[in-house]
Amino acid sequence: MGFFTDTSICIGCKACEVACKEWNQLEGNKPELLLDSFDNTGQLDAQNWRHVEFIEQIPDNNGVVMTPTPIAGGQAWLMMSDVCKHCQNASCLEVCPTNAIVRTEFDSVLIQQDVCNGCRDCISACPYGVIGFNEKTGTAHKCTLCYDRLQNGMQPACAKACPTESIKFGYLDDLQAAADKRLAALQTAGYKKAQLYGRDATVYGGLNAFFLLMDKPEVYKLPNAENAVLPSRNNFAGYAGGFVTAVVGLVAGVLAFRSQRMNEKSDAAR
């Protein structure tokens, strides 16, 4: 099961953020003036498991538009409710040394709070900056896909609260079919930049929380398919480099100790 977030109909109301915090009893961070459009959340972290991004693509003072959209006359205000992607090939699950991060019966990725020891390796690995460290509990936190609600036959709080149905929850097959239909409609209407992100296996084997975007993934702070890579890509090269260095280092040491010994022997022979 998963989410399909259609950013083309997100109105930035933040009902998802509020519903998430209320259901999961998240205190939220201390309010800050971020001076970043209507964003006062900043990023996903231990207290924010949903985060509505506001991306302003309107002309600056010189009338220059950075990334114009075809229909809106060169002006756009993109909004997206970001969340844990519950990746099929999850970086956090891959590196977690304690097996605290598991895949549930709903195919979501869950951090078991009673097992996590707060090493933060998952935070280092998550390419989306989803996971945060909670100082009070001393553990890593992120969206659980409302695991407790799912166990009781309810949908996640954010999807339930979304007034425009920008956040849809359901079986992946159904969501993917709905996403394909919506994308086709948008492209017919002239939104050529509209694209699905994580719908297929090109990004981390497919995302259980995938998106319909109105621009390139990078605009929404999402790595494109080329950059969506697992941490383990560096395992072989890292260890191989270490092994070669160890061999060269030991040889360098042997040469240093042996050469002097040879010198001493030849001196003694004279």
Partner: protein, 296 residues
């Protein structure tokens, strides 16, 4: 090649981790040098070998303390080794942190036994059966396995950083090798510092160690260049510029010191203390700039 994109949040691995990387590296490096002195050194080098094994264990002692202190839930450190859910072992060879936890445990055992052996070999215990065992084939085999584990502890810390999605770290796969080379440089410097006033250690041993130190420094310098090339190609080298250039200066000074002090006549009398100290600072600075710059 387009620059790598990174949207990961920093894990806030800071001072405890820096301390662990530093002392863990010195411990593994000292053990390796102790084994080299024991197996390929002269009879006169054996006293220095014992000091290297003792140093290795003493440098290892703070490592688990630093690691446990860095955890959000320190009492659950045991979850690194045992799966709290299934009750079995928590062993994930593809996770450097998991592999490193086991390697540290194994190296701890080898380092501790070698420490006991070195103490037994010293002074009035020299004729003990235990001491004789450590001087024989069994001892040599023990040292070789311990060296493999010790060098792994030096290197995996770099691999741990590389196996992430952080800028700089994940762009620099040579970090494992670089940290290993740097550990050998630092350990040689530390031993030079410890041996300098010991009259019971052969002067030739210090000369051999200095030569080894310079060889390790050359290896480290080469790996720094390779690391910078990989990070440069990924387009994230700018993260290590600005204020971090001061730490780069310390790294370069530490690497250059053993060569410079041996060539400058006026500076030679300061060399036994200053060059190793600068080299140790260089080891610390390298780790600090890699750890902190990526998360800034």
């Amino acid at each position: 090649m387009p620059p790598a994109e990174h949207f990961a949040a920093p894990p806030y691995w800071e001072w405890w981790i820096l301390g662990y990387f530093f002392f863990g590296g010195l411990s593994g490096g000292s053990y390796a040098i102790g084994t080299l002195l024991r197996l390929v050194g002269t009879a006169a080098d054996q006293r220095a070998a014992r000091i290297a094994f003792i140093t290795s264990f003493l440098a290892l002692l703070p490592c688990p303390i630093f690691l446990i202190a860095d955890l959000g839930q320190p009492l659950r450190f045991i979850n690194m080794l045992f799966d709290a859910s299934s009750g079995g072992f928590a062993f994930k060879p593809w996770s450097p942190m998991s592999l490193g936890s086991w390697a540290l445990l194994g190296f701890g055992l080898f380092s501790f036994v070698s420490f006991l052996g070195a103490v037994a070999e010293s002074g009035w215990h020299a004729a003990d059966p235990i001491a004789r065992v450590f001087r024989g084939t069994v001892g040599a085999l023990w040292n070789i396995i311990g060296t493999a584990l010790g060098l792994f502890v030096c290197a995996y810390t770099g691999v741990l950083l590389a196996v992430s999605n952080q800028p700089v770290w994940s762009d620099g796969w040579p970090l494992g090798g670089l940290f290993l080379a740097s550990s050998l440089t630092g350990a040689a410097a530390l031993l030079l510092l410890l041996l300098r006033r010991r009259r019971d250690v052969d002067a030739g041993t210090a000369v051999r160690l200095e030569l080894a130190d310079r060889n390790f420094a050359i290896l480290e310098a080469v790996l720094i260049v390779v690391f910078l090339i990989t990070v440069g190609l990924a387009g994230t080298i700018g993260k290590m510029a600005g204020v971090w250039l001061l730490l780069w200066l310390v790294v370069i000074l530490g690497l250059a010191a053993p060569f410079a002090f041996s060539r400058l006549d006026g500076a030679r009398r300061w060399a036994p203390v200053t060059a190793p100290l600068l080299a140790l600072l260089s080891v610390l600075a390298l780790r600090a700039l890699v750890i902190f710059s990526a998360q800034s």
